[in-house]
């Protein structure tokens, strides 16, 4: 076989390997290192380097180096004249000895001479400099031929594309990160606004201070116990925080009345779910159903609620959650006309009203969460923080919860075992 054919086959093999290396999308740094090996090995080049161009810093930064020594500059600046000339030149190898008029080759002449660099290929892709290849002398000691230059061009195109792809990926990653930060910021602003609204609502009623915030947190607990995802749990919390926003339009004296309000006052107070819906509806919430939770949080499963007297399946699920959270908070906090009710009594009330006022599956989830915390299976102390340790650890509450849950869900293994362990007979 003629030497020329042999060379061609060898270079073709290197080019095929380079194409495969770039298509494999391995680690970028490793791809460039391998590319330098392939170009050196294809033509028998003693040393060289591949650099990426930073168009912001106007610098060529070395990505891979072979045999250039530790004193070779890792970063080299280009002037606008260099850039202009390289862009005009395009992806064509430049003989270092012929290019000494350019500032770039004057500045780094000593380094190039010392390491006997003979060839420089600006990597120009779509009229943009993306990098460069530096090549030393050939092992044969002969000058580069036009055939060598064609091989360098072909391989340089591949390497240029690899660098361009990497730059695009880096740009996409940067923008995704920027969007993520922006989204987090907006989300945080939204949550702060929601909390500010909740505080504003609660300010109207000195007896129920913190009510909206607590309803938000209880709603969050219920959603979490239902196994919802983070987004949905956050949505439930927001629905809880804003459920009473309609009360902002109700006169303070009605809300704070230390006596049983009359029918007219009651009618005005009962308008707050519909008013809340009107306030929240035009807002584009990141979570669905927030306005519906405000509108229907006083509806009951048995249809005896307000404003529309909806029945079970007609009531949006989120409104059922907020309804339970709202009622639970009302029962467990002091009111002007009565003190907070004992925990056991509240549990009993929830059980009795499951299927009437509350959705039974929500009651069992909620009470199940409470039991898990009391039994130490959930160490988040969510209930203790909201209700106080003494209240939560009242005598007999664990047994009451076990018994209630067993009554409501006799087939659940956890409650079955729990009930059996305290000597109670599970009801089937």
């Amino acid at each position: 076989m003629a030497e020329h054919d042999h060379k061609l086959i060898h270079a073709f093999g290197a080019l095929a390997d380079l194409g495969q290396e770039i298509a494999n999308k391995n680690n970028f740094q490793e791809t460039i290192r391998t590319s330098l090996h392939l170009i050196s090995g294809a033509l028998g080049i003693m040393r060289g380097a591949v650099a990426r161009y930073s168009r912001f810093a106007h610098e060529l930064n070395l990505l891979a180096v072979r045999g250039l020594g530790e004193d070779f500059p890792l970063s080299m600046s280009l002037t606008s004249e260099d850039e202009r000339q390289f862009l005009t030149n395009g992806l064509v190898p430049i003989e270092v000895s012929q290019a000494k008029v350019l500032p770039f080759f004057q500045v780094y002449d000593a380094s190039f001479e010392r390491r006997r660099l003979e060839m420089f290929l600006p990597l120009v892709v779509r009229d943009e400099i993306v990098g460069a290849i530096f090549l030393g002398e050939k092992a044969t000691g002969e000058p580069y031929t036009s055939y060598d230059k064609e091989v360098i061009c072909a391989m340089g195109q591949h390497i240029g594309v690899a660098i361009t792809q990497r730059n695009l990926m880096a740009e996409i990653e940067r923008r995704v990160e920027e969007n993520r930060l922006l989204f987090d910021e907006m989300r945080s602003t939204y949550h702060d606004t929601v909390k500010a609204f909740a505080a504003a609502i609660d300010c109207k009623d000195k007896y129920t201070e913190g009510h909206s915030v607590r309803v938000g947190k209880f709603s969050e607990i219920i959603a979490s116990e239902l196994g919802w995802g983070n987004e949905e749990i956050e949505g439930a919390a927001v629905a809880g925080y804003l459920h009473d926003v309609g009360k902002l339009t109700v006169e303070r004296k009605i809300i704070n009345a230390p006596y049983r309000i009359n029918a007219k006052e009651s009618a005005e107070l009962n308008r707050h779910p519909a008013v809340g819906f009107e306030i929240l509806q035009p807002i584009h919430h990141p979570y669905t159903d927030v306005p519906l939770a405000a509108k229907y949080h006083h509806e009951r499963i048995d249809g005896r609620g307000y404003p529309d007297g909806l029945h079970d399946r007609e009531i949006p699920f989120i409104a059922k959650i907020v309804n339970l959270a709202d009622s639970f908070d009302a029962m467990t906090t002091d009111r002007p006309y009565r003190a907070r009710r004992p925990a056991k009594e509240v549990v009993e009330d929830l059980r009795r009203n499951a299927g009437k006022q509350f959705a039974p599956e929500l009651v069992t989830s909620f009470l199940g969460g409470m039991l898990k915390e009391l039994q130490g299976e959930d160490r988040n102390k969510r209930f203790r923080r909201l209700l106080g340790r003494d209240y939560m650890e009242a005598e007999g509450i664990v047994e009451k919860l076990r018994y209630t849950l067993n009554e409501m869900e006799p087939t659940t293994p956890m409650t079955f075992v729990a009930a059996a362990s305290i000597g109670e007979r599970p009801v089937h």
């Binding site: 093999g13 330098l36 090996h37 050196s40 003693m46 050939k138 092992a139 044969t140």
Partner: protein, 106 residues
């Protein structure tokens, strides 16, 4: 002889002269192992590296680049490189790319 994954085998312990066997296919993986071994020996003061190609059928472009790098490193450490038992095809390749100008072939 210490056989290492069937790619590169080291024949002798660290000394002034070291014989290193290239595997049957000198590519990126086996080449980098050979390069690592040679560098370790050069740093330990070895003055002659003999790369034995008796098992080597093919040397690809990356293998060539690694061998050129090895020659360069050996020269800057004041050491020489000898290639032994190189088959005819590989000799032809080394000749074509100028590798033989920098090493002694035995």
């Amino acid at each position: 002889m210490i056989i290492d994954n069937g790619t590169v085998a080291v024949a002798e312990p660290l000394s002034e002269k070291s014989v290193i066997f290239a595997g049957d296919y000198l590519n990126k993986l086996s080449g980098e192992r050979l390069e690592y071994d040679c560098k370790r020996r050069l740093e330990a003061g070895c003055k002659e590296i003999v790369v034995n190609f008796s098992q080597t059928e093919i040397v690809n472009s990356i293998g060539i680049s690694i061998l050129l790098g090895l020659i360069d490193t050996a020269a800057s450490n004041g050491a020489t490189v000898v290639f032994s038992d190189v088959n005819e095809n590989t000799i032809e390749l080394f000749d074509m790319l100028g590798v033989t100008k920098h090493v002694t072939i035995t």
